[in-house]
Every structure is written in structure tokens, then in C-alpha cells.
Symmetry: C2
Subunit: 293 residues, 2 copies
């Protein structure tokens, strides 16, 4: 009989991950503020808790997949939050993308209580979460990591141990810096080429065979050309993640001039009303600046 | 018996391309201002001309692979330049990376004389030039293109006809925009990650399997980590190419704020003394700005 696992945040990513824990035979006590998410989770065979406190009381390990650090603080330190039920030896696995310094401060705050924190950010999207093929980059005490490895392996395919707490997030944010800047480069390139009279179909054909290729080009350029901005990766998530990238950079006094400008342009795109669209919609901000309607 | 081909510019790229024309059975009349290049070309079986005028007089089609537009103007319109020997029906194939507007102005100037111009920029580096596996993106009159296709096929593997004069360069510059911005994103990402304490070996391992992947990451990140800046693609070439990208953008009134900033940082790296190093050395400018010695 496997030990029960707590799961906080049954959204796009969390629902798939919690589902894979259930499939692997872990009893999962889930919580989400949205009633429909809790009901869907019950239908999947999970046990939906009435409060965060209940999750903490019924489990020794919980996974957090909420949106940002403000939500993590609310989940842990809020009224009837996890903290009230956590005991010495309990482990919190933080899979949200936040700044490394933030997860480290969380770890410090819970240390007095004997609670361990791991950061275990995820990569691979909703599809990867559902298929159990996520990449997971984990940081924290080795002992806690090894204890949680069977859980991580149930949710992901490539599991990397990165060393101390926050190091998983550091690598995740390095990746997201590249995602955001490469995506914006694609937007400028596609917009420029099209405006200069190059057939967009030829751009889509030639670049993937050239040195200008990137994962983001192959996955986003055709959305920009086809004007297909149905949300698969929300633009506002990149605004948030770039904020954490710059927070991380600030904490080590690293100026990132290109990435800083990229964040401003994503913010602009969000302010223009494209925040809830696919992140490929950043091309619309590029076009607006170019006077294209 | 194949018709003789003129070849101007026997440098890193040109020597390999001219060599492949020779292998395909074309008599090649080559010219380079450097005596040692002319001698090497003779040893390869080519015929080295004493002047540009001689090239124009002995051939009906010439390929130009010189550094920039200033050199093209010198080659064509300078004293004892090609123009003095060109006749109606002759074709110039411009394979240098310049701005589309520049090759169009060249085409207009030579039109009165009945000379056709094709732009046929190349992608694939010195290795591709030598192996005959270049990608070539050609623009210009269809008839002139078809006449030259056997030559292009002798020098490259993937040949794309892009339509009117300058369109090959438009696509080439779209590619080089991505090359330059993606490379700088790699520099910021690797520098940030390393400074934040992530093991660079893990960065090199994980990113190519993640959404942050790019051709430039796979080809440049390890050079930055290994401090291997032996020149394979010169940083100053990117400074020049980005200048042409922005020239192209200006001609269609397209603001490119991210790419503009990237050009400034490459210029900075060049000014710091890294212009003749590999373009991966842009990471040194990022580090200098970060106060890393």
C-alpha cells in the first residue's frame, strides 16, 4: 500500500499530474479552490479534500502546482492553510514556476517546523502532464529528493537532480528565458519577412532546415502565419515567468538587457489585450508597433 | 563543353564554391585581390584572371562572393571593374549577404546595359561550401534563374527560387535575424544559469530536450561553456548582417526593437575586441556587462 500524496492545484497541468499519480497507485488527496476541478478529480478516482488543512493532516508529502508565489504563500501560510497541519518530516514539492529565491525563502520559513521543501518545476505542457512525459528539474536536500523520486517518476519521464533548493527553478528559468526570447525573435522575423514580400510558406519551409531554427520556430511560427492564436501556452504566463527570470538575475546582479526588453514587449502585448491568447500572439504587438492592422 | 563561369571572391566560402563548379566541369575564371588565393585557385585547376575586366570579357555569367556592398560596388563600378567588360545578356549572381534594396539598386543600374542580376545568398558555412551542400535562396528574373540553375546546383543542395530580385536576400536576412538573436539569448541564458550556480553541463544536457532549444544553442552553447572561441563564424559578420537586417526593416518601415538592441550588443562585443573571434564570444560582452572577469 503506497502512502497518500497531497495535491494542490488541479488546473491544466496539475490535473494530468495528479491523474498519473493515481494511475501509479498512489492514493491522492487533492485540493483546488474551484469546485468543478474538485468534482472532476473525484470522477478520476481521487479524494477531494474540503480544506488545505485536511490535505496536510492526511498526507506527509504534497505537490503544489499553483500559478505563482502569491498563491503559494496563501496556500501555505493562509488561514486554514497547509502550515497549520504540517509536521516535522513532511515534504512540500513546489512545481510552480517561481523565482529560486522565493522557494528558498519558503524552505527557510518551514525549516523551524522540520518541514522539507523541494523545487521540482516541470516542462512539457498539458500534453506532457497528461501523458506522464514531463521533464522535471528538482532541487533540495538529496534525502528528501530520493524519498520523492517514485512520485516524480510517476509524473515525468526525464527527472534531473540539480542540487540544492532553487536549482531546479534556476534551470527552468534559463529554459524559459530562451523560450520567450526565441519566440519574440520568431515574431520579428516572420513579421519582417512577410512585410518584405517573402512568401510565408517558404519561410516556414526553409528556416527549420537553417541555422535560424528553434523549437519555438517549429512550434509557433505556423501559428503566427495561420493567425491561429487559440491558447495552448498563455502569453501572460510568459510575462510572469520573465518577471521571475529577471528576479533571479537581480539576485545574482546579472544584467539581462535583451531579456529585459523582451519582457517589456510581452507586457505591451498583454496590455494590448492579448494576455489570455497563445504566446505566439506576441506577433500582434510587433505588428501593432509596425502599424499593421 | 560547358560555358566558362566567372568567380569573384575566393575566400572561405568562395573557394569551396568555385571548387565545386570546377568539379562539375565548368571552366572557372576566378579573381581575388589576394595573390595567395589566386595561386591556390590555380592549383585547384582554375584559371586566375589578372583583372576583373578580364573576367567579364571571358565569361557571360559571374558569381560574386565578396564581403559587403561596398566591395560589390568596387568590383562592378571601380576602375577596370566588371562593368567595363559586361555585354547585354550577361548575368551577375550576387551571393554576398547585403540588403535586398542594395541588390535591387545594382540590378537597376545594370539594366540599361542589358545585364541581369540574380541574388543568391548562401547558407551552410565553409563546410557546406566545400561539400557542395549549401542552401541557396535565389531571386531575380525566372529566365535568368533557370539559365543559372545548373551552376547553383553544382554549388548547393537545396536551391529555392524566391521570386523577384532581392527576395533571396530577404529570406536570408530573416534567417540571420534569428541566428543573431537566438545566439545572444543563449549567451544571456548560459551566463545567468552559470552565475546562479547551475552546473553548465546540466544546462548543455537539458535544454536541447526542452522548448528552449535552438540550432544556435546546440552549436554555440558548448563553445561558451568550454571557452572555445576559435573563429568558425566571425562575430563581425553578424554585426554586418544585422546592419543589413535593419536596413531591410527600415525600407519597409518595420521597427524591430529586439533585433535593434541585439545589434547594439554585438557592436559592443566587437568594440570590446571580440569582432574577429567566433560569434559565440558575444557571451564575453554579456559577462563584461555583468562584471564577470
Amino acid at each position: 500500500m503506497k502512502e497518500p500524496v497531497g495535491f494542490i492545484g488541479l488546473g491544466n497541468m496539475g490535473m494530468g499530474m495528479a491523474g498519473n499519480l493515481l494511475k501509479a497507485g498512489f492514493p491522492v488527496i487533492g485540493f483546488d479552490v474551484r469546485k468543478d476541478a474538485r468534482e472532476k478529480f473525484r470522477e478520476m478516482g481521487g479524494q477531494a479534500a474540503g480544506s488545505l488543512l485536511e490535505v496536510a493532516q492526511k498526507t506527509r508529502v504534497s505537490v503544489l502546482v499553483v500559478l505563482n508565489f502569491a498563491q503559494i504563500e496563501e496556500v501555505v501560510f493562509g488561514k486554514q492553510g497547509l502550515k497549520e497541519g504540517l509536521r516535522s518530516g513532511d515534504i512540500l514539492i513546489v512545481s510552480s514556476t517561481i523565482a529560486p529565491s522565493q522557494v528558498r525563502s519558503l524552505g527557510e520559513k518551514l525549516q523551524a517546523q522540520g518541514v522539507q521543501v523541494l523545487d521540482a518545476p516541470i516542462s512539457g505542457g498539458k500534453e506532457g502532464a497528461e501523458a506522464g512525459t514531463l521533464s522535471i528539474m528538482a532541487g533540495g536536500k538529496k534525502e528528501a529528493y530520493e524519498k520523492c523520486l517514485p512520485l516524480l517518476q510517476a509524473m515525468g519521464k526525464n527527472i534531473y537532480y540539480m542540487g540544492g533548493l532553487g536549482n531546479g527553478l534556476s534551470l527552468k528559468l534559463v529554459n524559459n528565458l530562451l523560450v520567450a526570447v526565441n519566440n519574440l525573435a520568431v515574431a520579428e522575423a516572420v513579421s519582417l519577412g512577410t512585410r518584405a514580400g517573402v512568401d510565408p510558406k517558404i519561410i516556414l519551409e526553409v528556416i527549420p532546415k537553417s541555422a535560424g531554427d528553434s523549437w519555438m520556430f517549429r512550434n509557433r511560427a505556423y501559428r503566427m502565419v495561420d493567425r491561429d492564436f487559440a491558447c495552448r501556452g498563455e502569453l501572460d504566463i510568459l510575462v510572469k515567468d520573465l518577471g521571475y527570470v529577471l528576479e533571479m538575475a537581480k539576485s545574482v546582479k546579472q544584467p539581462l538587457v535583451l531579456t529585459t526588453l523582451a519582457r517589456e514587449i510581452y507586457q505591451m502585448a498583454s496590455n494590448l489585450g492579448h494576455g489570455k491568447e497563445d504566446d505566439s500572439a506576441v506577433v500582434k504587438a510587433v505588428e501593432t508597433m509596425a502599424g499593421i492592422k
